[in-house]
């Protein structure tokens, strides 16, 4: 599997080297099992064997339906959710085995922007206190004056008036709060930013502003961005590459233009066909691929190809072989689908079956 992966990084990239990398990453949660002995009744496979390379300076969009594990993946990369298997490396360091000091430094270098700006800011702390927290934690810009100046700088960077620094979050609108959240994430001068559905709970008009802000910051500061979203248009707008996730696994990855124009995996095709076009004539002609059935529960992942229960092209090997990512379509594009040749592990070996 990893031989196919190495091909993934070689194509068009801003600088070419890998900043964040996951190999066989698994996050399984125990489910059910009440009672005194607290034995889990089953396992929920939120992230189930993800291989992913995020290149320095790129924006990688991660899309998928609700519950497919994309947020969990973003959290697991920063060790905010402990992985139950596999490895994550950040700039060469194994994140899963970092000690306290290493983890702290990693968290300075990797920030996170959260989905709900109404929940991600402490209501009892002023905007300045929130934005200054990373500075205090990491001992950056010592001294009250310098710290205040830096907070003012950060607020301006995200398009807020520094004069409002003394106010509390409840005095701000959703978009303004999200800017505060972004300023906090940037305070430690990170290399890597995970935006976990960062625009999903904003008004559509505000979404565009925050999206453009993120894109501007990415260019201005040379950030590496993992943009987790279920909004394909937003992802196509901001991303260099797109990864599509289904039931805890990445099923297709490639350049944003290639994945957007010529998806190789039936699931991606269906996902793309559901995006409305802002052009009435083209919108009328748009062919929708409507999938039948629901997403299977991540507590009971189908054997073989996990998409086979809803795939319109399901055929012989889909039951028996768990498909691996293989190069198809444009250069650097990978898809996990038997339509392009049966590659992968037979079910008998797979414990997931």
């Amino acid at each position: 599997m990893s031989t196919a992966l190495s091909a993934q990084g070689t194509e068009r990239t801003p600088s070419g080297d890998v900043l964040v990398s996951a190999r066989g990453l698994e996050v399984h949660f125990p489910v059910g099992g009440g009672g005194l002995r607290r034995k889990p009744a089953g396992v929920l496979r939120a992230v189930d064997g993800v291989d992913l390379d995020i290149l320095r300076g790129e924006t990688l969009g991660l899309v998928g339906e609700s519950g497919c594990g994309k947020s969990t993946l973003g959290n697991a990369l920063l060790r905010l959710v402990p992985p139950t298997g596999g490895t994550v490396t950040f700039d060469g360091d194994d994140v899963t085995s970092l000690d306290r000091r290493g983890l702290k430094e990693m968290r300075r270098r990797a920030g996170m922007v959260f989905q709900d700006p109404f929940a991600s800011l402490d209501p009892r702390r002023t905007v300045a206190q929130t934005v200054a927290e990373p500075l205090e934690v990491h001992g950056l810009h010592g001294g009250r004056q310098e710290r205040a100046a830096r907070v003012g700088e950060l607020l301006e960077l995200v398009g807020l008036d520094p004069a409002v620094a003394g106010r509390y979050p409840h005095e701000f609108s959703g978009g303004q709060r999200q800017r505060v959240g972004i300023a906090r994430a940037l305070a430690g001068e990170p290399d890597f930013l995970v935006c976990d559905e960062a625009i999903a709970s904003l008004d559509v008009s505000v979404q565009a502003q925050v999206l453009n802000l993120l894109r501007r910051l990415q260019r201005q500061l040379g950030l590496t961005l993992l943009f987790v979203s279920h909004d394909l248009s937003a992802v196509r707008h901001i991303s260099d590459r797109i990864a599509v996730m289904y039931l805890g696994r990445i099923v297709e990855i490639g350049q944003a233009a290639a994945v957007g124009a010529d998806p190789q995996m039936p699931y991606t095709q269906a996902l793309l066909s559901a995006v409305p076009t802002p052009h009435p004539a083209r919108e009328r002609e748009r062919q929708r691929i409507v999938l039948t059935g629901d997403v299977p529960s991540p507590a009971a992942v189908p054997s073989g190809c996990r998409f086979r229960t809803r795939c319109p092209y399901v055929f012989e090997p889909c039951d028996d072989v768990d498909p691996a990512l293989q190069p198809v379509g444009a250069p650097g594009q990978l898809a996990a689908c038997h339509l392009h040749g049966v590659v992968g592990r037979p079910v008998e070996e797979s414990p997931a079956g």
């Binding site: 991600s120 003012g152 301006e156 520094p162 004069a163 906090r184 994430a185 565009a208 394909l232």
Partner: protein
């Protein structure tokens, strides 16, 4: 799933606002501290405001008891015994001719000191236990809370009597005994509150920037979990004053001849038909103090509730904070 409007990539509405060099320093201090706002809201709540004023008066009396008391609390004057209230002795005198007003004034400091010490002990120990149990969960939670349950399962007075039997009577030991009895209450209130706050996104956000457990506990969890603890403190003070009175009544708290409201009540009991004022005025003092602490607790509960808070202070409108960055 509506797509975000996509502007032309070439146009640049998204240029940074203002020149980076001219950014004025942000003030790190809030414009108006939160506790000031809380006090302002409290002052607008009539019952809580009156209760607070009375409590301040009681505390002042307790502090300046020596100057305020007309006579020594233990000055026995047999010729003046069992005098009904008069100009000379506003609250009358007891069976040994001691001035009851003076004894109540001096008893205030004893009652309040025991109350504050007891609740202070329970607050510090109980809150710490509740914080650790609620935040770390798992075995820490199990061990600490089962221990608290054990204390809780004991009848309160019996537990206090046991502590006093081991350590001997006296106001310091009384405070300790009452404090131990109240510790599980604070532990439980704190733990319940922490369990809710722990799952908040801003706690995860704080962890995501590298904050330590200690920082998260003290800067984020404790302040957000505080309102029920503050209310519990106020109500516990009332109960602690009562408990001190009860223990002194039983002869385990303050020892005669020192004045304590509970002790005076106990002593006046045998004369209740002959001289009602001996028991009545200490009883009123206990009643007023407990009532004030309870009313203050109720007022704090209202004021600290964030939903009511927004209503009352009328703020919540978004401020014009955009510096005109993205469009």
């Amino acid at each position: 799933m509506t797509g975000a409007p996509v502007p032309e990539p070439g146009s640049s509405p998204d240029t940074p606002a203002g020149a980076p060099g001219t950014s004025p320093a942000a003030t790190l201090r809030p414009a108006r501290p939160r506790w000031q706002e809380t006090l302002g809201l409290l002052a607008r709540n009539p019952t809580a405001a009156i209760a607070s004023l009375l409590l301040i008066a009681i505390v002042l009396i307790a502090i300046f008891d020596d100057t305020l008391a007309a006579e020594g609390p233990n000055d026995i004057d047999v010729a003046e015994r069992l005098q009904s209230p008069s100009w000379e002795h506003p609250f009358g005198t007891d069976d040994l001719g001691r001035d009851i007003l003076s004894r109540i004034i001096l008893g205030a400091s004893v009652s309040l000191r025991v109350g504050f010490l007891a609740v202070g002990f329970a607050l510090v120990v109980g809150t710490l236990i509740g914080l650790l149990a609620g935040y770390y969960g798992r075995w820490v939670d199990d061990v600490l809370m089962r221990f608290m349950d054990m204390l809780f399962a004991f009848p309160a007075v019996l537990l206090a009597i046991a502590v006093l039997a081991v350590r001997g009577p006296g106001s310091g030991n009384t405070a300790l005994a009452i404090g131990i009895v109240y510790t599980p209450i604070f532990a439980r209130v704190t733990r319940a509150s922490v369990l809710g706050v722990r799952e908040e996104v801003y706690v995860r956000a704080s962890r995501s920037v590298g904050a330590s457990d200690w920082r998260i506990l003290t800067r984020h969890i404790l302040p957000n979990a505080a309102p029920p603890i503050i209310v519990q403190t106020s109500i516990s003070l009332a109960f602690a004053v009562l408990a001190e009175a009860a223990l002194s009544f039983l002869g385990l708290g303050t020892q005669p001849p020192n004045p304590s409201w509970g002790l005076m009540l106990a002593e006046g009991r045998s004369y209740i038909e002959l001289a009602w004022w001996i028991a009545f005025f200490p009883g009123m003092a206990i009643f007023l103090t407990v009532l004030c602490f309870n009313l203050l607790g109720d007022g704090l509960r209202d004021v600290l509730d964030p939903r009511q808070r927004t209503q009352m202070s009328g703020s919540g409108a978004a401020v014009a904070a955009d510096a005109g960055g993205e469009k």
